[in-house]
């Protein structure tokens, strides 16, 4: 009945509550659990702060290579599309080299891809107000799967070839049409497809590299964001001065060790 995800402390990485509780409950006898006929059901904290060193629950680093959600053809479309949104140019790498497609693929396989944390109960209104925000039943996974199929069907019908075979100018024109809602895809909202790829491409270009995008911190280098250094007292002391140290991510820097 209840969502048992990490927000409720039930996840495998969070606090070790659940199957792995025994050792901790033993070590911290005062951090007890309410035990019922159905098993562990709530956590009781009294007398001692229940933490142990190095217990922070980390994200699982993305290992690039292959796709877990996309087919090879879908991945090629997303990659070509994202590369037009953030192209490689004289300012540096674009979405492709940043690993944005891998980022999106891995995000889609997680809770984000299924809108697992969102309110997805019906009824779904056919004519919501713009001020009421997201009102679609479609999860990101469905948006990509159905939206890319619709885009490919449109490209085959209109240009007699797939999106990736269009030249850059042709892709740009089509993307602009999707963005403005001027291109009608078969049975799919063109704006919804544009917004999904656009939003996730920006995320993948600027998120910590641990998620598979922003490879070599190319997004951070573009703007001069130093990443996760967590201490800028030196910068505050030198107003209007350029920051010259290279960025650091949650996994450090390439120069710090094996990649």
């Amino acid at each position: 009945m209840r969502p048992t995800d990490r927000s409720r402390g039930g996840g495998a990485f969070h606090h070790g509550i659940g199957a792995g509780t025994t050792r901790r409950a033993f070590l911290l006898a005062t951090a007890a659990l309410l035990v019922t006929s159905k098993g562990v059901s709530a956590r009781v904290i009294t007398k001692v702060l229940p933490w142990r060193p190095n217990e922070a629950y980390p994200v699982t680093p993305v290992v690039p290579g292959g796709y877990l959600f996309f087919t090879a053809d879908e991945a090629a479309v997303v990659e070509a599309f994202a590369e037009r949104l953030i192209p490689a140019d004289e300012l540096g790498p674009g979405a492709r080299q940043a690993g944005v497609t891998t980022f999106i693929d891995r995000q889609l396989t997680g809770p984000y891809g299924g809108h697992d944390w969102l309110y997805m109960e019906g009824p779904f209104s056919k004519n919501p107000l713009p001020s009421q925000g997201l009102q679609s039943e479609l999860t990101p996974r469905q948006q990509y799967r159905n939206g890319i199929a619709a885009l490919e069907a449109y490209c085959k019908a209109t240009f007699n070839r797939g999106f990736v075979e269009l030249d850059a100018a042709g892709q740009d024109k089509l993307i602009a049409g999707l963005e403005k809602g001027e291109v009608q895809l078969p049975n799919f909202s063109s704006k919804m497809l544009f917004n999904a790829i656009y939003t996730n491409t920006i995320e993948g270009f600027f998120a910590d590299p641990i998620y598979g995008g922003n490879r070599d911190m190319v997004g951070w280098k573009l703007v001069g964001f130093p990443g996760t250094r967590y201490d800028f007292r030196d910068v505050i002391d030198r107003p209007n001065q350029a920051y010259t140290l290279p960025p650091v991510s949650m996994q450090g820097r390439p120069a710090w060790g094996e990649r």
């Binding site: 039930g10 059901s41 001692v48 229940p50 922070a56 944390w117 969102l118 009421q132 964001f225 967590y230």
Partner: protein, 587 residues
């Protein structure tokens, strides 16, 4: 069927700022206190380690530590003629979840409201005549004065270690502080944060215009500090991961940093996490609470009897719990009768972006409360006569972060993607800053909260329905403030500026602010308030309701300082109540 647990002296719903403070102060008296928190336990060492804390995607974009809409959300519409739909994904505001509540993920801006704010209705009518009051307003004086709250503001600031510069100590104006503030007993516990380049330009420009800039009071603290509870804090490192994040440095004032280390050592205190209170239970005559019912993570239902029930959830969820429990008469905008859900208010945001030819603002070197503010246009610190609106705003130059997924500003006219966008993102990041106005929102007949007729939470209980829009008074005020911001931005030397007007209709999509106020307001008349001046329910005398839900309308400031002050004010009354239970104010 709920199973009945042994009785407790005090049952607290929610373990954020207000819940942890009242838990500590009451457990210290030796009372048996249980706090029920529907989210998980969170503490700095486990959850906000430096190795994992600075993660923009996880916290600011995917909302990892926030209440998940799947668990509870609201429905929303702009006016009563529309059909409300669920907020499926948080946008405009972001409610917290878990131990620490909103006090964990806030920016730390810790204000005192101005003396006039507490009697705004009387004050405005006295000075300008009744004609200045906006159409449909339900603005009402607070049932407590600034002078009454002053010692309690002081107490909260001392516990939270707030960094700032006093502007008025016992009636004497202090150089460098806010000359408009109410008289304070003493200085802030820690000195102000250092400021960045943008703030030095703002200070110079504003001073040159005859305005009165000062470093805004900050819960990201500037120096090592041990608070009256014996909890220690460390200096802020300007890491730029405050709002929507937990602080790994013990630098941000939060229940985790300032209260829980002391609270958890109290032998008569117990917290139960992953336990959602579904109802405050009432006696047969409805005049006394007998305790609460809650559901734990496994779906088991429990009854927790208690002598005193303190409702300490986030403001919106306090109101919903009252509605679901049948405490107080629900508000009906058609008749104007009823009180629960009445006078919901929010906050305006407007301002101006300032683009410089050549500057290095280093926006990433920041803190949630870093900034220089001025109050010349707040409350009634200026003549409202020529403008025809009620309310005001604090105007601020601030950099709270430079996290690039959400912060990659571009000049007007830039395409949204492609090489031209990429070039603009690179060129603009260091040379833009913003002057912002955070404004008051008054209370109106048609801005309110009630239970939704259609949508339910996973336990089958109705979601709360929010009916809200910015009214003409707020639009006029916020847009006038945006022009003031633009004047200052130009005086700072910007070679171009962009005005940001108030977005109307109010939309759930862009993040605006989590300053949701009202719905269970305090007052001196039980026909227009849920709580008396001590935050005690008019109807059920052993129920007190803490938090911004008690604000009769919102002022031009962040709410937490006033939430903290009201908590200590109410606690003083609870101490009296414990000696002699019953209504502290006759109905």
């Amino acid at each position: 069927m709920a199973r009945r647990l042994p009785r407790k002296d005090v049952v607290i719903v929610g373990l954020g700022w207000t819940g942890s403070i009242v838990a500590y102060e009451l457990a210290r008296l030796g009372l048996d206190v249980v706090a029920l928190e529907r989210g998980p336990w969170r503490d700095t060492a486990s959850d906000f380690n430096i190795g994992t804390a600075p993660d923009e995607l996880r916290y600011a974009v995917r909302h990892d530590i926030f209440l998940r809409p799947k668990q509870e959300t609201l429905t929303m519409r702009n006016d009563p003629s529309q059909t409300a739909l669920p907020i499926r994904k948080w946008g405009s505001f972001l409610p917290g979840n878990g131990v620490g509540g909103a006090g964990l993920h806030w920016n730390g801006q810790t204000w005192r409201f101005l003396p006039d704010d507490f009697r705004i209705r009387s004050h405005m009518i006295e000075r300008y005549g009744a004609g200045i009051m906006p159409e449909g307003n339900q603005i009402q004086d607070w049932p407590v004065s600034y002078d009454e709250l002053e010692p309690h503001y002081d107490r909260f600031e001392q516990v939270a270690g707030i960094s700032g510069k006093a502007g008025n100590i016992k009636g004497t104006i202090q150089p460098g502080g806010n000359p408009f503030e109410g008289a304070r007993a003493r200085e802030y516990p820690t000195p102000p944060l250092k400021q960045g380049y943008a703030q030095s330009l703002f200070t110079k420009a504003a001073t040159g215009m005859g305005l009165h800039p000062f470093p805004r009071p900050s819960g990201n603290i500037s120096a090592a500090y041990t608070n009256p509870y014996g909890c220690s804090m460390a200096p802020c490192t300007y890491c730029g991961f405050c709002e929507w994040f937990g602080c790994a440095n013990y630098s941000k004032s939060s229940p985790q940093t300032c209260v829980l280390p002391a609270l958890v050592r109290e032998p008569t205190f117990e917290a139960r996490t992953d336990c959602e209170v579904t109802k405050v239970n009432l006696s047969a005559d409805g005049k006394m609470a007998t305790g609460v019912t809650y559901v734990d993570a496994a779906g088991e239902e429990w009854e927790q009897p208690g002598d005193l029930v303190l409702v300490c959830a986030f403001s919106l969820f306090n109101v919903r719990l009252l509605l679901l429990s049948g405490i107080g008469k629900p508000y009906d905008p058609a008749t104007g009768e009823g009180v629960v859900g009445r006078n919901y208010a929010y906050q305006t945001g407007s301002g101006a972006s300032a683009f410089f030819e050549d500057a290095k603002f280093n926006p990433f070197a920041a803190a949630g409360s870093l900034g220089v503010a001025l109050d010349d246009y707040n409350s009634d610190n200026f003549d409202h006569g020529p403008h025809g609106f009620v309310g005001g705003a604090s105007i601020t130059s601030a950099h709270t972060n430079g996290r690039p997924i959400r912060y990659h500003p571009v000049p007007p006219g830039t395409p949204a993607w492609g090489s031209a966008w990429k070039k603009a993102v690179k060129d603009t990041y260091q040379r833009v800053t913003y002057v912002g106005a955070q404004g008051s929102v008054m209370s109106y007949r048609n801005n309110y909260l009630d239970l939704d007729p259609t949508y339910k939470d996973p336990l089958g209980r109705p979601l709360m329905r929010m009916t809200f829009d910015y009214q003409p008074n707020e639009q006029k005020m916020a847009n006038w403030m945006a022009e003031r911001c633009q004047e200052i931005a130009k005086a700072m030397g910007a070679n171009s500026t962009r005005l940001s007007r108030l977005g109307v209709p109010w939309s759930v999509v862009p993040y605006q602010t989590t300053h949701n106020t009202g719905g269970a307001v305090m007052g001196s008349d039980p026909n227009t308030s849920v709580l008396n001046r001590y935050l005690q329910s008019w109807d059920v005398s052993n129920v007190f309701v803490m938090g911004a839900s008690a604000f009769p309308q919102n002022a031009g400031y962040n709410p937490t300082g006033t939430v903290g002050a009201l908590t200590y004010w109410s606690l003083e009354a609870i101490f009296k109540y414990l000696k002699s239970p019953g209504a502290l104010v006759p109905r």
